[in-house]
Subunit: 219 residues, 4 copies
DNA sequence: CATGAATGAGATTTCATTCAT
DNA sequence: TATGAATGAAATCTCATTCAT
């Protein structure tokens, strides 16, 4: 009697590497959502860009919104991971603030996808962010660091007292965010190349100047 | 004997008033694009909200993108019209700057549609704004006003010299824009009610404080 | 007491000339139907081309199909009017046939709208033509003339006997029709400028040569 | 012992056979475009006739015009495939010409879709044909065969010399094309059943007679 | 785990026709 | 007679999602 012929399992060239497939879908999704928003992005395009089968998206992420949420979470995970590297404990308050500002500015310049995802998420009134327990638990260490620098600076008489760290953080971020995220309209309106390397450096210095002027002004 | 029957004039809801129809479509479009972006907005919903026939949208605006462009133009026309009311010629530079800041802040608070349209337009890399000769020719008077205040303030020794008015304008706008346009994610992340009336007033004062500290700091 | 004010009848610049309006609509319709067929033609475009109000089309012609039928009838009226000018009674049969051929060919060359309307009508399987009592009663005099020339030519021994005038007419027309009505595809396929003046003259001579060879061949 | 139960292969009506789906869409499209032209044909009707989902049309052919172009190409591919079967190399010129005529005539009689697609394409001034590299490269062998027969016939003294094969081909085709493609209007105008079997045979003979009279006439 | 053809619901757009003036 | 805004029905096209293999 014959042994049963083994199932003719076609061995595809494609990596049967689940984690890698997931990853490439997520990266592709971030690119597409960044470029076109939640509604403008196409599931087909994401699959094509990921070199993955469309079905896999549904397998890993449930549906388009699930994928968007995952991409949004990734975006936050990435910035938190970067923030966590910063250490200001031993630092001079002025230098610490300056570095925090430049870190934030640099992150915005180097991560346009973060700005774009934020814009998209706000268009949707943070509907997805609110759903994400994961993001909500991912506290930014920046507020704590800022708080520490402000306290020490105030104690040393260098900074004005009673500065609200959240208010200040929003200012630091806002000074950079608006410039970068709205660079397309601003460039058109003002006829300036806001993207130019020199312009970016200048903006970073300007932000630091503005914020430190505020902190160092005696009330 | 019967009273004469009144002429059976069917009072339709229909306006038969082209300018009004156009206007109501445009208003409805602004609401929808503001709430859902270019791709998320639905032509059907816009027509329904306008109380107009869908066909009219195509009659007046060509297609969905034409309508979006018209709504974007309207948005810019409106802010320019508000800006033009401001008069600082005779004003003390510090007071002038303060009013300019509060005007900008108030406009953002009262016109969320402006922020949203700006965000949407930037997601599309200013593709529509660039097409619009009308907007490009609609220069903001703010830069000129700011320039004048800065010159006078520097001459009087009140302000630091050589401040770039465009850079400064971007800072004034950015300090307000980020707070308002990203209030949904920020509220979620920081667990604060950024929308509260007190919070809004406080933010306005903070912005003025930050900007004036910068301008008044002696280099 | 005041005399009643006369009704404010706005006197438009536009000619209140019914016949002329009708005529211009009909001409515009012929152009549009010729260029795009029944389904491809647009009522709006016809009205615009006619410089008339769209409503007038419905007033004069009932609906789009009514207008198409009217244009089709016009087309037939025009060719019949041209045909009726021909007189062969006294003519030498060979010369008569030659002239009839050249007349037909010239008409096709000079009236592409006739060819196109014919093509369109055949696509619709003569649905409209069959409805038109007017066209059906508008007999072409050509068959009669042809018949007379054939009889006389046969009697004189110049032409072969028993030629079916309808069959022959279809041949004369077909030799010209196909060349002209299919000139776009034929030019593309054969890479020749069938529209060139010389080519048109040559074709006319060829058709006469073909037909006369047939008629004059002794069986 | 039991026979193994066959796998429960649900035999759906669905084909899940891409090539077959494509094919059936194409066939349905040809029928619809033939009957109603490019503008008159309905994508819905084509899908229904093909037993396919409308979406598939867009998947395989891009849009309605893409489908039309594909159908047009198919039509040309089919006639070229038929033409290629003809072999006249060894044939007596008169018999060869006669067969070529009858082939052409028969093809027109049996393939009304070819005539109709040609008519539609010419209404559109060969806009699609010109786009189609595929068709332009699909040279008809008929001109070559005709050329060969004419040369041999002239050498043998049977045919007149210097006959332009393109001119002659257009005549052969035109004598058949007009009769068939315009049979609806012609039948109505002349009150004859041009479609009747006898009429068709008679027409074929007439065409051969006309063409051979021309070729055999001594100049 | 992976594929990609297929689907249904719904989006945008078009168009002949009617209505209020 | 004339206007042109307005309409409803239907057309084309899109897209997230599912299904057979």
């Amino acid at each position: 009697m014959d042994a049963p012929t083994p199932p003719d399992r076609k061995r595809t060239a494609v990596t049967r590497d689940p984690e890698r497939t997931r990853r490439s879908i997520l990266d592709a999704a971030t690119v597409e959502f960044t470029a076109k928003g939640l509604n403008g992005a196409r599931v087909d395009d994401i699959a094509a860009r990921a070199g993955a089968n469309k079905r896999m998206i549904y397998h890993y992420f449930g549906d388009k919104e699930g994928l968007y949420l995952a991409a949004l979470e990734e975006t936050y995970v990435a910035i938190r991971a970067a923030e966590i590297q910063l250490k200001f404990t031993e630092r001079d308050p002025v230098e610490g603030i300056r570095e925090l500002i430049h870190f934030t500015w640099r992150y915005f310049v180097e991560h346009p996808e973060f700005l774009s995802m934020l814009g998209t998420e706000n268009l949707h009134r943070a509907r997805f962010l609110r759903q994400s327990k994961r993001i909500r638990e991912l506290h930014s260490p920046l507020i704590g660091m800022l708080s520490d620098l402000l306290t020490r600076g105030a104690a040393a008489g260098t900074f004005r007292p009673n500065v609200d760290p959240v208010q200040l953080y929003i200012s630091i971020a806002g000074l950079g965010f608006f410039y970068m995220s709205n660079r397309h309209t601003l460039s058109t309106i003002f006829g300036r190349e806001l993207d130019a390397t020199d312009a970016l450096t200048e903006r970073g210095d300007h932000i630091a100047d503005v914020i430190l002027s505020y902190l160092q002004r005696k009330p």
